[in-house]
Subunit: 310 residues, 2 copies
């Protein structure tokens, strides 16, 4: 499985298709990734990213995003930002600086406003309805990534340049100010053009405990093949958490090495992801986990119909 | 060099001494670390941590802290928090939860208020005077960690348990909302009782690009001796940044393995750190970097007098 782009979840299909067009038209890998992420951010149908994202415990949509340029290791991230139309644009903007690259909450909003990025109300009526129906008597210790889709992560490679962008509204009903793995370098994503890139989706608190994106890229650096790097990083982390008595929430990983080889792994039963392949096609795959044994399938219509989620 | 505790900078001396007393009296490693960090937070003489910390570009003191329990990999962090007396206490509190462990800005403050943690004005007159004398026409791309001291990081081990706590006010004149490496797991600190713990101080943006604390602990996991793990992680990262044309700011590392062995490295000329040794003494050491060749010395009075900083 090889490609120019790989992205988490079926919801990234239109975005990867657009990204592939950007690359074919001679655009940079950065433009391709930004366009791909923005398509998911702008779509109110996806309740875990950007516009239409599900709100926190106080009913506010708080957004996280990050971008890493694998050539420079330039990293930009924003955390807990409200009413920003396209968080990925600001994360990308910040990755060009040497200082003040990771900004939280009001400070990030102040920066985005000064730079002229668009703001709008990100809470849709549908997301508000879902929030208002949610009981507040829930167990905050059992919050899960939203079933079937979660953070959008897009990895791309063009020429020698690798990069990665991620965007999310985080866990539904999270505490105000809660930050997950997405804007945390090495956890939500990591890219090094000399080696490869990886990104994660799922319960951020559990992903962060293993710095899983950095962990996958380090295995690539040691020469481990990309599919094995994803599976091993995830398995070792699950085993380590198991020894401490902790049963982690859902975690899924994607990665690409510098030869365009793609890997994926999940601790869920199935994890769909989208590849923009070397023939310029956009193809849906799924990592399927049968009792710890991982396989990657190219699902047929029946599988897709049966799959609950985006 | 072996010990129960190791901490960044000479300013941690009193804290480590107190932490050693806590351990000797049968207190937990967590109590020892919290007490050690709090002593630095509470001292207005130290302008890079807690009370008396130097403010951001808008004249506000914004504090970051994190705590990691190496037994559970439980991680708590707060970012960009104002007027909180002891950030390390809230970070430690959060490390006990499975969700909502990393909180930013107003959300973190809301959490701390609800849990009854003390708030007070953290901007001292001296810090304000220094701020008011600072020209705002500075190059934001050249902000440096405050000369001679920076983030306080304390690693401890008692019984089989290893843990780490860090606290900082971040870069002087940082943009509002700017977050450095300190509250970012794997960058500012990382602890795994099965392997070891590491922590970093310096320019957060450059530390984060290499997830340096996680990187050191991964080398320990592979059996690399702790001093070599610190030196190699730092050297490889400097070389990688050098290949991308980036000249990083100051970076210093401390680490301890599960046999109580301690290591340290720096890309500055000298980096003082404090060890609570196995004989219950509190001892100042310094990592000295002569053209890339690292040595650890036990400095004499003359060296300490000549050293500019805390």
């Amino acid at each position: 499985m090889r490609g120019y782009m790989v992205a988490t979840w079926k919801m990234a299909w239109d975005g990867v298709k657009k990204g592939q067009e950007v690359l074919r038209a001679g655009g940079s890998v950065h433009q391709a990734i930004i366009e791909a992420v923005k398509m998911v951010e702008d779509d109110p149908e996806y309740h875990s990213v950007g516009y239409g994202g599900l709100p926190n415990y106080n009913g506010e949509v708080e957004l996280d995003a990050a971008y890493m340029d694998g050539d420079t290791l330039g990293y930009g991230g924003i955390m807990g930002v409200k009413n920003l139309k396209n968080p990925i644009e600001v994360a990308f903007d910040l990755c060009h600086y040497k200082r003040n690259c990771l900004l939280a909450a009001a400070g990030a909003e102040e920066y985005a406003r000064k730079k002229g990025y668009a703001f709008c109300d990100m809470l849709t009526e549908e997301a508000y309805l879902r929030y208002s129906r949610q009981t507040k008597q829930m167990d905050m210790e059992k919050l899960e990534a939203y079933g079937g889709h979660d953070t959008v992560c897009v990895i791309g490679k063009s020429g020698d340049t690798m990069a990665c962008g991620v965007s999310t509204s985080g866990l539904f009903m999270k505490l105000p100010g809660r930050v997950g793995d997405s804007p945390v370098i090495g956890s939500g994503c990591y890219a090094d053009s000399e080696v490869g890139a990886a990104a994660a989706t799922g319960v951020g608190e559990d992903i962060m405990k293993g710095c899983l994106s950095f962990s996958v890229v380090e295995k690539l650096r040691q020469g481990v093949p990309v599919q094995q790097a994803c599976e091993t990083a995830l398995r070792e982390h699950m085993e380590r958490l198991g020894r401490s008595g902790h049963r982690p929430g859902s975690i899924s990983l994607i990665a690409m090495d510098r030869e365009h080889n793609i890997g994926a792994a999940t601790n869920k039963k199935a994890f769909p992801f989208v590849v923009g392949d070397l023939e310029r096609n956009t193809v849906l795959y799924a990592a399927v986990n049968e009792g710890g044994k991982m396989s990657v399938i190219c699902p047929d219509e029946a599988w897709i119909q049966a799959y609950q989620g985006d």
